[in-house]
């Protein structure tokens, strides 16, 4: 649930509905994704391909910089029943690795927990 301690930092195209709260993991290739993503993480990456799917199965949600309603990430996320936001333009730059975030795949919005005082670029 979004509450007053949360701040919206980014929005994109809502590609697969649902909310997820977890640790953002920013990765740039499938190997990194497979090795680093765990069940509590939200996968943040420029774009996915079929080699990312194992990591997508593990992740709580998926956020990408590029793509639209019918991009690979959107299709697979819907197939997996996980929230997904695509086309954020710069999620991999704005969201910091390890940051606790909430994503709303229905509205296409991404929030951070304000009390943690992260330093945003």
């Amino acid at each position: 649930m979004v509450n007053k301690n949360m701040k919206k930092i980014l929005s994109g195209i809502p590609a697969s509905p649902g909310k997820a709260e977890g640790i953002a993991k920013t990765v740039f290739n499938p190997e990194e994704a497979i090795n680093e993503i765990t069940e509590n993480d939200i996968l943040v990456t420029p774009m996915t391909d079929p080699n990312f799917v194992v990591a997508m199965i593990k992740a709580k949600g998926i956020i990408t910089d590029f793509g639209g309603m019918l991009c690979h990430a959107a299709l697979v996320a819907r197939e997996l029943g996980k929230p997904c936001i695509v086309g954020t333009k710069n999620a991999t730059k704005v969201i910091q690795n390890g940051q606790k975030i909430l994503m709303d795949g229905t509205k296409g919005e991404i929030y951070i927990f304000e009390e943690e005082n992260y330093d945003f670029r």
Partner: protein, 394 residues
Amino acid sequence: MTLGEKLGIIENIKRLKQKGGHLCDFVKFGVIKTNGSSDEIHEWLDSFIKPLDEEMLERYYHDPQLFFDFGRKNMEIVKDECEALIKYGSTIFDESFSQEERDTAFLMVLHLTFTITDTFYQHDRLLEVFSPELSPLGKIYEDIREIVDKIAKLKGYSKEWQTDKISLLLSMPHHLSFQFRLLSETHKLLEKYPSLKDALERNEREKALSLIEKNSKLYDEIRAIANKYYLDIPSLIEAFLSSKITLGDLENIKKNREKDAKKVESLFHEFKPLLDIKDYKKLKESYEKIKFFKDLQEFTAFKLASPIASKALETIISVKDYLKMHLPRLIKEEHQVEINLLLQQYESALPFGVFYFFPKLRQIIYLMLKQGYLKDEIKKGYDEELKLWRREIG
């Protein structure tokens, strides 16, 4: 003899000609606006794509299978272009070739890089663009949106309800993903052949391929699956090995999809009495049409993740070292500072993946090959090579 003839590339050119491939001419058509990317990326990724004319737009809209075939053919062309690029790339750092030949190879890799991305974007951009005036997908999306909008107005449903239902329809739960269908069939087949299953579980590609070769029944069965998904047997094995998705994962995915399929069915059930026959039929047809775009999107992603595409990408990345090493010899003096700066930007974007470094690379290629940044004496072999290509494929 040109470098291409020496490397046996003439065969690649002939194959490309048969498939309708062509070398890019660096003609700009304007930027396709979408929400997905920044302007600079649009400028250098897809402003060279010729938009679909009205006739093709209508044909693909009415028969999306044709659009799927068009995209699949483009990916076959991309594969052949990648092969030619890798052949040229193999000579760039090979000192047994003359400096002139290595310059030619370097410039051909650049030209092919631009060509390959344009060929790919010919269909890929249209998979992302939802504007009805530009893409068949846009027209289909608009049909769905209009009908769902009618229902929302009639019943007083919210905008959120509308978005949710459109998203559900676009997800096509009756049509399981290309990758999951392929893996599911392969897993089922492996249950019948434990030695092959064992080899694949141990990541033994060569052994798996030799087992398939030796057993004609297995060969026929696995070839049938590969054919169905427009792959050859080694690519199917590669797709299987790189996916690492278990049968258990696939079962869970299927269950998820079945739940959503039921939601779509009840949606159609709810809509039927509220719509006239024409609209109801259109909605059902549009829903079915989406599956071709869904399959093409995944098929394209598969082909791009294939070993040959990865090898071509490695070659493309490695040419920057050649440019760096020879920049003063290749580039006109007045443009060296600018190219050097772009090269630095390109290098700093490399760790972030293709979407970040390709625009910069395309900008460099455009300036060198189209805008005359190259020294005149460097282009000799390249011009000859282009003549050879153009004579064959135009």
